[in-house]
Structures are given as C-alpha cells and as structure tokens.
Amino acid sequence: HFLTRYGRRYSPGSLEFQKREHFFQESIRRHEYLNSPVLAPYENNSAIYGINRFSDLSPEEFKAIYLQSKAVELPKYVTTSAKEAI
C-alpha cells in the first residue's frame, strides 16, 4: 500500500527494496515510541505520528535532505515595558 500510495518502484527482493523495507520497519518502531502515552501523555489534539512519504527514509537520509537550515544566534527581543524600565 505504501509503495503504491507514494509511487515507489523498488524491485521486490532487490537490495534497495530490502534497505527501504528495513527503514520502513524502523519507522513503525519509531511511531510506537513517539505515540507512547508514557513518554507523551495523550491530550486532546496531541500530535500523532505514523506512516507518511518519509517512512522509507533513514533518519540520517531525512536529515541530509530536508533539515538543511543553519542555526543563527539572535539578540533577545526587548519588550516595550522592559525598554521603559531600563
């Protein structure tokens, strides 16, 4: 269902297929962890984690492709009341 839904064309049995299947299974384990009510007490509208189009990527691959913003240190915003106090 995942392969069809997200248009993946891995040949069944190929090394690439096995690698992607492994990452997919890892992601299922990660979802169990992220959705665990022990770690994140369930409240109304709490975030839900599950299968999406990134589920066959390893966290390293995901990071390398999608998390490429560099952090910058900025000065703290000073509110008007704080400025007046100064």
Partner: protein, 214 residues
C-alpha cells in the same frame, strides 16, 4: 490579542510548496514571508521565486543549506527584486544566478527584523499581527513521522535544523498553538501545515524569528 488569528483567513498566504529533495527550506521560509508582506501592503498575492534566492544568495549554499538570516541580510544589502515564481521556476537544484532588468516586476525588501522571542511568545503573537507571517527556524527531526495534531513533546529548542513560516495562532482550545506553514507539499501534516504548542519554546520555534518589510 485575539483568541485566533491566521493570515490565511485574509487570503494573504500563498499555497504550500514542495521543496522536493532540495535543502532550501530557508529560502521557502523567507520568500513565503515576503509574499505575505507584499500582499498585506499591496493587496496582491504573488508567488515569488524561491529559486532566485537559492541561486543568488551567495552567503548560503543553495540546495545544500542556508540560513534565513543570511538570506534576509543579502536581500536587504543588495535590494534585489524577487521576480515571479513563474518567471524563475523552481528546479530543486542549485543553479546559476539569473539577473533581470530593473524595469521588470519584482519585490525587494526595505528592511527586516530578526529576534529571539524565547520566553516571550506572547510578544511574538503581537509581532505576527503587526508585521505579517514570521519566518522561524525549528528542530524538525521528529517531523519525519508527523501526521497531525499539536506538537508538544519530542522536539528540542536550541537545535534548529529547518526553516518554516508561522502564519497564525489559535488559543481557542485547551492547548494554544502556532499555525506553521511547511514546504514539504500539501500532503504532509495538516494540508502542509503543522501545529506547535505555544509556550515553552517547543521545537525552538521562538529562537530565530524574522520578518521582512517590503
């Protein structure tokens, strides 16, 4: 402050885009902010070129990464006019910087503000209303698996690795949250958006916040 505010309700936010396999979130974030700032001023919503920022912001590394602040610094220093997205299309890879005649349509920035709002997210709401959608950086490691709902856990501050655009907030329910536009297509998250709890600087949403004036 109103209980709920979202620039989308005024039709001043462009549709969610997809950065594909290009690490150009930083460019999508600030271009989204400039599009809205221009729409607020001129009442005309135009999709501007993200590819132009990716190719031309020499302080950044194109699809290999960059910073919202560097890009705003470059736009402010050079007064480069961002052309329409249809004129300088997104290619999902870094290319050679194209130049356009100054008589062509384009949007340049006059100034920008960039601050750390951690501990004062209430003030950030005021700035969102006054300045328009805010570009922000976040820790998005757990977003690989996000489907929907309000993120409250599994997200750190001080470890930013992704850039997004905050378009609004909602405090009508039990958990107040920021309404955040992402650039991973409209099938990801909540129609391309993610909700992040307000307060406690969840995901570092208040660490690096910026807005341009056009």
């Amino acid at each position: 402050l109103p209980a709920r505010f979202d620039w989308r309700d005024k039709n001043l936010v462009t549709p969610v885009r997809n950065q594909l396999s290009c690490g150009g979130c930083w460019a999508f974030s600030i271009v989204g902010g400039i599009e809205s700032a221009y729409a607020i001023n001129e009442n005309l919503l135009e999709e501007l070129s993200v590819q132009q920022v990716i190719d031309c912001s020499y302080e950044d590394n194109g699809c290999n990464g960059g910073s919202t602040i560097n890009a705003l610094h470059w736009l402010n220093k050079t007064r480069v006019k961002l052309v329409r997205a249809s004129e300088y299309e997104f290619k999902a890879q870094t290319g050679i910087c194209h130049y356009f005649p100054s008589s062509d349509f384009g949007v340049s920035i006059r100034d920008y503000k960039a601050y750390n709002f951690s501990d004062i997210e209430e003030e950030m709401m005021t700035q969102l209303i006054n300045l328009g959608p805010l570009a922000a950086t976040v820790d998005a490691v757990s977003w690989q698996d996000y489907l929907g709902g309000i993120i409250q856990y599994h997200c750190s501050s001080g470890e930013a690795n992704h850039a997004v655009l905050i378009t609004g907030f909602d405090r009508t329910g039990d958990i107040p949250y920021w309404i955040v536009k992402n650039s991973w297509g409209s099938t990801w998250g909540i129609d391309g958006y993610v909700h992040i709890k307000i307060g406690q600087n969840v995901c570092g949403i208040a660490d690096t916040v910026s807005a341009a004036r056009v």
